[in-house]
Amino acid sequence: MSKENSEYLIERYNNVYEVVIGLEVHAQVTSESKLFSASSTKFGAEPNTQVSLVDAAFPGMLPVINEFCVKQAIKTGIGLRAQINKRSVFDRKNYFYADLPQGYQISQFKHPIVGEGEVVLDMPNGQKKVGIERLHLEQDAGKSVHDMDPQNTLVDLNRSGVALMEIVSKPDLRSPDEVSAYIKKLRSIMRYLGTCDGNMQEGSLRADVNVSVRLKDSKELGTRCEIKNVNSIKFMQMAIDYEANRQVDLIEEGKSIDQETRLFDTKKNETRSMRSKEDAHDYRYFPDPDLLPLELTDEFIENLKSDIPELPDDKKKRFIDEFKVSPYEATILVSDIDTAKYFEEVVSKMGKNKDIKLAVNWITGELFAILNNKNLEISKSPISAKNLAKLVNLIKNGTISGKIAKTIFELMIDGDKDPQIIVDEKGLKQESDPKALEALIDKIIDDNREKAIEYKNGKEKLFGFFVGQAMKASGGKANPQLINEILKKKL
């Protein structure tokens, strides 16, 4: 695919517009307890059962930083190939809301814990680098529930104080597809690191999307609108598509774009204004006097670096070098840490005489298909890596044909059965004895004399007919390669 073809451009009359997108991703830190208190972060608990005095902002309560969350943020920064700032400062972002007990959110404004970094995306037309502006730690707010009581808004503070990483990208993204790839890559990196589970349904990963448009080849950025709190990749893509077209239409009508915060209405598939720049909050950021600046030693950072597992980009490179898989296959295999783990386990269980290419095909083909069908994560695969490795080996060493393998695969799903046992029990072992096959083929040629003559006279298509007859006669167990060879010889 050429670069031009994959570009996402909006055309109106003689004008061609490009879309410029930057994301502020809010990723919930994987941690037992909250950023400044010991309360649990477990998802799905009864409302207000995971709330400490600190989370509810009782008088005289003070925040104490959770060291584990700091480590998680640093690890993520390392995963984003970013600058780790040895000194960072927690600020208060002041605003009133019913689910914000302190009346301020503790965040990092001027001095974030992580500075500039980079994420590499594998796009169909090649790699694309997306700049990371910063990553900072902050508290989540609680949740206001407006639809449970006709008179009152109810507040659940379970989420209040949960640690979030806000990861701000540079305005480097140019299409909904790039946004999708970016989110997936971030998610993948954080799942490799164990710093965020990336579960968008549970709200562990959500994003504010900044969108602006400009004439293609223009160097200046247009006025941007921020679409708040979008919680699925699909909605992000829909929101960007709607918003970019809205902005282009405004420009085409000779109107200007107001810098504002917008909401994406998932039912109507449109964005609408939430508040304009004039109405924007004055957050009165200032350093939180209850917390000292966070100062990290080189040793602390180095210790964490040595603790970083192999990340998707490195793993991909190794898969290509070590297992000779294609870059495309490698991208698929490393995109999710559990897929990569599964693949590596299959490879290791296949032993010496292994066919990695075949294993990749089975994982990305049959296995992905049933996972998809059953809506399962690969970590919950009904067929273990050990048994898939056995199946691939059975094909590789000629015990079964690929076709039989598919039958066996179906039988393996229920109860993760050992394919060897299925072969033995059902007598599915491939017939590879040349003498037996020759006798079988002789009989078929005898029974189909006329077709054999037609073949000899040049009707080569009939070869397939004889193969089919042979396979049928053997109950599908004949070694297809041997059938081919013998038929060629005999016909």
């Binding site: 005095l53 005289g60 208060r92 002041n94 009346g103 004055d282 950021y285």
Partner: protein, 485 residues
């Protein structure tokens, strides 16, 4: 035993240890006097019957190894006390009952002391006269119609009026030292980070510090020893080597270098304050100290700096009082209306004034000119002290620019009220320890205090100098019990 309430803490402890006095007797004596002293309006919440029960329990199974064995005491109502109403002098917390205990008060109960009740203070500790309290002003035992200072006005009045042998206050810009000075008592503001802020209703987090208030330096030293502790629940608590202040207390300060900052000779300072300071210098010399003139060049910027930093932090710290979770809530049409009504009705005028100042100085467009500049000046003020401490061990100044004033006298003039803190705020901005000790009387017979400022973490040195000077000064408080009929 007669006249229990006039005894110092040390003699109460001795008498209890020697079984000349039971905790119950002591507790009842202070309760009895407190009951006769309603006119002083020192208590917001009394916990007298509980106190007697606790005293009896102590007497049944006394533990004389404790530092405050069975000693009854009242505390400023800014300290959260478990199951006991804690108001911070505000309507917005009028009925707030914490389920937790502040670290400082917990330290006190751990050493055997017994809570008598919660003492009045300026609303959220914002004030210099105790007139901003929702629960009414406090009378100074020194004279009728006189303010006891603030914000720890209930505390200073209760100690000087002998309603409690000792107490604790909090000091953000002088709220322990100024009331101590106004009531002829001793008050120490420790180094920032010495006493945990956990469970203390916050005013300005980077300045707030709890401290002891007592009739004399010895008692103050003992109480400081009890309340100061490293606390992991407060991120600004500092893990330093804390002395056993009362045991290590000494009058031997020969050769100590004491600095006299020329910038504290402010325009319009009453002659009696100037005279007091001069007398203080003579006392220090008599103790064997060496007097050295020093300069703290940025002193004149301390007050404006303080009145930017403290309101800025307060405006944010007080945002949590919004009617949503606890405390007073006014009915409103919607969330914003509820906020506005709750906070307009729940906070008094002075608190609202400071919230507005604080909100303003943090606003976008003003932040750099006010808050950021104030932080820079704060650093310069701290540097002044660092420079001075290369030459001296401690600094001697007056505690306040005047003696106690009349109730109502400055109520409508916030700037004149703020000027009361002129000698005390630089200390908070620099995070240093300082003590106010009574050193004389003005012509009306009202007490005047001297302030000794020490190096960070050198509470012992401050206490030692105060102890030595106290001996030379020989101050006698003139309490006439005018309020007891």
């Amino acid at each position: 035993m007669s006249d229990i309430t006039s005894q110092s803490l040390s003699s109460l402890i001795n008498n209890i240890k020697n079984k000349k006095l039971s905790s119950e007797e002591a507790t009842k004596a202070f309760i009895d006097r407190s009951n006769k002293s309603k006119e002083l309006n020192t208590y917001v919440t009394e916990d007298f019957s509980n106190a007697i029960l606790k005293a009896k329990k102590f007497d049944e199974k006394p533990n004389f190894d404790l530092k405050l064995p069975g000693i009854p005491m009242a505390v400023k109502d800014l300290f959260c006390t478990k199951d006991i109403k804690t108001t911070a002098g505000s309507k917005i917390l009028e009925n707030f009952i914490p389920t937790y205990e502040s670290t400082v008060t917990q330290n006190i109960w751990n050493e055997g002391a017994i809570l008598l009740g919660k003492l009045n203070c300026d609303e959220f500790a914002m004030g210099s006269s105790n007139e901003t309290s929702f629960f009414g002003n406090v009378q100074n035992p020194i004279d009728k119609g006189l303010v006891p200072g603030g914000s720890s006005g209930g505390s200073s009045a209760a100690v000087s009026g002998q309603l409690t042998p000792i107490t604790i206050g909090t000091d953000t810009g002088g709220s322990i030292r100024q009331p101590a000075s106004f009531t002829g008592t001793v008050g120490l503001k420790p180094t920032y980070g010495s006493c945990s802020r956990y469970g203390i209703v916050a005013f300005a987090s980077s300045l707030d510090q709890a401290g002891p208030m007592a009739q004399n330096v010895q008692d103050c030293a003992l109480l400081q020893e009890v309340i100061s502790s490293y606390d992991t629940k407060d991120s600004t608590s500092i893990d330093f080597n804390r002395n056993e202040y009362s045991k290590e207390l000494t009058k031997e300060i020969k050769g100590k270098k004491i600095g006299i900052p020329k910038e504290y000779r402010v325009d319009g300072m009453p002659k009696e304050i100037e005279d007091l300071w001069q007398k203080g210098i003579e006392y220090a010399k008599d103790c064997g100290a060496e007097i050295i003139d020093i300069s703290l060049p940025h002193t004149s910027y301390a007050l404006p700096t303080y009145y930017i930093v403290a309101p800025a932090e307060a405006s944010s710290n007080l945002a949590r009082y919004d009617g949503v979770k606890y405390g007073f809530r006014a009915k409103g049409e919607n969330l914003i209306d509820m906020y506005e009504k709750t906070r307009s009705e729940g906070f008094g005028a002075e608190v609202q004034r400071r919230i507005m100042i604080g909100t303003y100085v943090l606003s976008s467009g003003y932040y750099d000119a006010y808050y950021l500049k104030a932080q820079k000046v704060r650093k310069l003020i701290k540097n002044d002290f660092d420079e001075a401490y290369k030459k001296v061990d401690a600094i001697l100044t007056p505690s306040t620019p005047s003696s106690a004033f009349k109730i109502g006298e400055k109520k409508d003039d916030p700037v004149s009220m703020y000027l009361n803190d002129i000698f005390t705020v630089p200390v908070n901005l620099a995070g240093l320890p300082a003590i106010s000790i009574p050193a004389g009387h003005d012509e009306k017979g009202y007490p005047l205090g001297l302030q000794i400022i020490g190096k960070a973490f050198k509470e012992q040195e401050v206490l030692n100098i105060a102890y030595a000077m106290e001996d030379k000064i020989g101050f006698q408080n003139k309490i006439t019990d005018w309020w007891i009929k």
